[in-house]
Every structure is written in structure tokens, then in C-alpha cells.
Amino acid sequence: MSLSVSSFFIEKSQATVVNSIIKRFTFNGSDISPQVMTYGTIVHDVAEIAGGSMVIELENASQVYNSFFTDKTQFFKDGTFEFGFATAAGSEDLTQFFGGELIDIDMDDAQRVTMRFSDKLARLGDRKIGTEESPVSFTGSDYNPADLAWFVQASYGGLSEVKSTSNPDVDYPTWLGWWQGFDDDSVVVRAEFTGETVLEALEKIAKLTDSVIYDEGDNRLDYERWTGVTSFRHTISESYVLGVPDVTIVAEELINRVEILFDHNPTSGTWAGSITKQNTASVNSYGLREEIYDDSVVWYVNSLAAINQAERTVFRRKEPNVKAKVKTPLRFLEAVVGDMVEISLAVHSWDVKLMTLTGYEIDFMEKTMVLDIDEGFGRTSGKVTGFLLDDAYWGLLDQSYNPLF
């Protein structure tokens, strides 16, 4: 799911001559953009639910920021960064790309001050669930993974429990779609937390269920599970690429045999059973590369969901994984982690290669962005295209030959 921006915003960001640019930083309710000298880069990675921190440098020749010495209550106040364009009618079309809290300032140079903001969702990494002595157990019944995530983020993370689009902390439609997917597949889990943070709990749920939980920059959680066919989102060609991309092929992440344990008993520390799936063709090509899923924090209740996860894993990760860092102008600002990318690069003989966006770094000063894309074997990321019209392999409807996940 791409960032929700207007067609005007997309049109402007994809133009080859871009003007009427607006960059705005608001701190503690005040627009401090006139004092900003440089904006730091904004980073998102699929492995991190909360976005990275953001640094801005401001002039302090006026000594206005010396107030931090006398008024320290300014710390942990909100800072937001918006980027966009002025319309011909004189209005502004802005999108928030970062929201955070002030955590420290640097005044090595008295004429300048550097302010560092932590993504607001990073505070979920400070909220712990249970302890070793008093664990928080979700073992009395089976839980839809989305319900488990909702409970821990609301009860322990303090996020809003409003189940509508007005929820300020959660993109409710994506959560609901995520929930529905698990309900359709009868995926249920149980859990026991002994001091994991809310962020760690959400990361475990995402990893176990082959999902991605992310922040688009508006400090609201979005949820998505990789399942089935998805439409292409972004097309990258050499018309948009700056410099030759940095490409690697990683073999260490290959998994062709996976064992998933299910129905954990926290009291006895035992498991009721396990399932094993193997991709024989991959084993014959690369030798046995095995992974065991035995997380005793969040686990599957029965073999059905475990089989589903195992089949996904040995299918998606059956080969060494191609990863690339592609630098472009600011024409993909609406992209978010998890989006699918269709990339063609003659320099690597890539012709309409399908990959997944697993991270990005936006430099609003240099007007560039670096997209991290891979074939889909990264942590909690990856998509399986079940059908592609006229393709010699992906265009076959024989379910046994080309199973849909």
C-alpha cells in the first residue's frame, strides 16, 4: 500500500522540472522552517517498525535556542516534517514524512544547533510486557494474530483503541484487512511475554505471520501480510536511476527446509508437535539449508497455520537472494516499505524484474532517494506473484505446478 498522496503531489514529484517546493518543520506547535539550515535524511526499513530518527540543523546566531538551557520541558515535544508543493491557486499540498519527539540537541557551534528527533513510535520500544517472574500470558484461548497485536499495542503501548479511520495511532483499514486475512486462513496463535517490549512483540508477530508492520511517516501503524497476487506499484527504469545501482546476491538467507514447532506449553516448555517442509529442488541445487521456528514467545496453535508458513518460506527463500540499492530523484515519494517494484536495468540485464521495497532513505536536501529492493527473501518481506499473464511459468493455472500462497 503506497503512501496516501494526491494526484497533484504525484504529478509534481514525478516531473523533470520541480518547483514550488515546500519543506516545513514544526516543533512544539511552531513553524521553525525559517531557521532550518539543513534537513537530515529520513530512513525506513522493513525490519524496523518505527522509522529512524531525524536530525535538523538550525541557525542559532539569534541565540533563540539558548532557551533549552532554561526551559528543558521543550524536550520530548513533537516535531514533524512535511514536504510538498504550492498549488497554482496558492494553497499547499503537503505530506508528513516524519513525526517524532525531541530527544537531544547539540551546540558544539554556538551559531548553530542540531536537534535530533526520535520517531514517535520508537517509544513502543520502552514499554515492556510482563516480566520473567510475572509473565503476561495469552494462552487461555486462541488469538487472531491481529487481535494479539492490537491488544499489546493498546494495553501496553498506549496506542488508541478506536476502531475506525479516526484512530490517530493505527491505520485501521489496513489493520482490518490484515485481521481478515488471518481469519480467512484460520490462522491463530498464542503467546507469553516475559519482558519483551511492545516493538519486539509486534516484530515477532509480523515475522511469524509473514507480515510487515510499518510507519509511513505519519506515526500510524500500517499492517500487511504477503499473500496472493498483488498489482505492481512502482516501475523503475534507467530513465529514473542515478548512477549504477549497488547490487548483491546473498546466499546465506537461503532456506529450503523449515521445521515449525506449534502449540507450545509455557509451563513444561514442551511443544505438542511440529511440521516440516522441504523444497527438494533447492536442496539438490544448494544442499540442505534449514531453519527451525521455535519461538516460545509467540507461536502457532495448530499445524494448519504452521504448514502455510512453512510452505511460504521454502518457496520464497529457495534461491540466493538478489538485493539492490537504487538511487533515484524524488519521484517515488509515495513508496512505502513492502511495495512491489518492477525494475528494468540493461546494465544487469534485468527486464521487468519483480522485487520488493524493503527500505528507503530520502534526502530532501540533495533531492534524491535510495531504494532498498530485493527479490523478497528479507525478514518479514517478500511477495509471491501467483499469476502473470502470458508468462511461461507464472502464467500457468495448474495449482500443483504454481501454487498460490
Binding site: 517546493i21 530513465s239 548512477g243 549504477v244 530523484p329 524524488l330 546494465v347 534524491t368
Partner: protein
């Protein structure tokens, strides 16, 4: 045709005996990128400003002191390109970390100075 003049915040004023080698340049806030296929992406971000490079000689000690005082405090000045039209001016500041007039004009040692003053619109 009149001469360029620099007016200070109070009553200070300095006539500039500028020649045709004075430079007037608009500086854009612009970033350009060229892709692998040769496409050019241009970003025009924010307002442009104007830079004036004014080589001068025969600057008196009094005018030199006046300019230095303006530079030291970062005074906002009015730069009039033609004093026949005094209402047409640019709001500027003197740029640089060194004083503009650093050499003497022979044979007037330490009484007549030469150098270059750089002004940018604010």
C-alpha cells in the same frame, strides 16, 4: 547616468566608483540530476538571491572604516545601482569574513584603498 551607491542603516552612505567589471548575478537554489538514460531532473527549491561583486579602488580611509563597521555588525544596507533612480534598490548585506579593502593604491599608502566588496540580497 548615475553611480552605484550603498546606503547604511543611519545616515551613512558611500558612493561606489564601480566600472563595467562589476558583476551582477542571480544565484538559484537549484539541484540537477542526470539519470542513466540521460534524463535531467531539475529541482528549484526556494527563492533565488542576487550577488553583486564590486571591484573598487580609490576608497578613502573614511569609507573603508564605514564599510568595515557595516560588515562587522551584519548591517542591512540598500544598494542602489544608479543613484539617478534612488527608489530602485536592493536590500543587501556585505558578505565575507575578511574586510573588503585590504590593499593600498600607490602612492597613497594607507590612505587610499582597493579591493572588492561582495553584496548579497537578503
Amino acid at each position: 547616468m548615475g553611480k552605484p551607491r550603498l546606503d547604511g542603516p543611519s545616515s551613512g552612505s558611500m558612493e561606489l566608483s564601480a566600472n563595467y567589471d562589476m558583476e551582477v548575478a542571480r544565484v538559484l537554489n537549484r539541484t540537477d540530476h542526470r539519470t542513466l538514460e540521460g534524463n535531467l531532473y531539475t529541482y528549484l527549491d526556494g527563492e533565488s538571491h542576487t550577488r553583486f561583486r564590486v571591484p573598487l579602488s580609490w576608497v578613502s580611509s573614511m569609507d573603508r572604516s564605514l564599510v568595515n563597521s557595516w560588515q562587522e555588525v551584519g548591517a542591512d544596507l540598500q544598494f542602489i545601482l544608479d543613484d539617478d533612480f534612488p527608489l530602485s534598490y536592493h536590500n543587501v548585506r556585505i558578505m565575507g569574513v575578511e574586510e573588503p579593502f585590504t590593499t593600498s593604491v600607490a602612492p597613497y599608502y594607507l590612505t587610499q584603498y582597493a579591493g572588492e566588496i561582495i553584496l548579497e540580497t537578503i
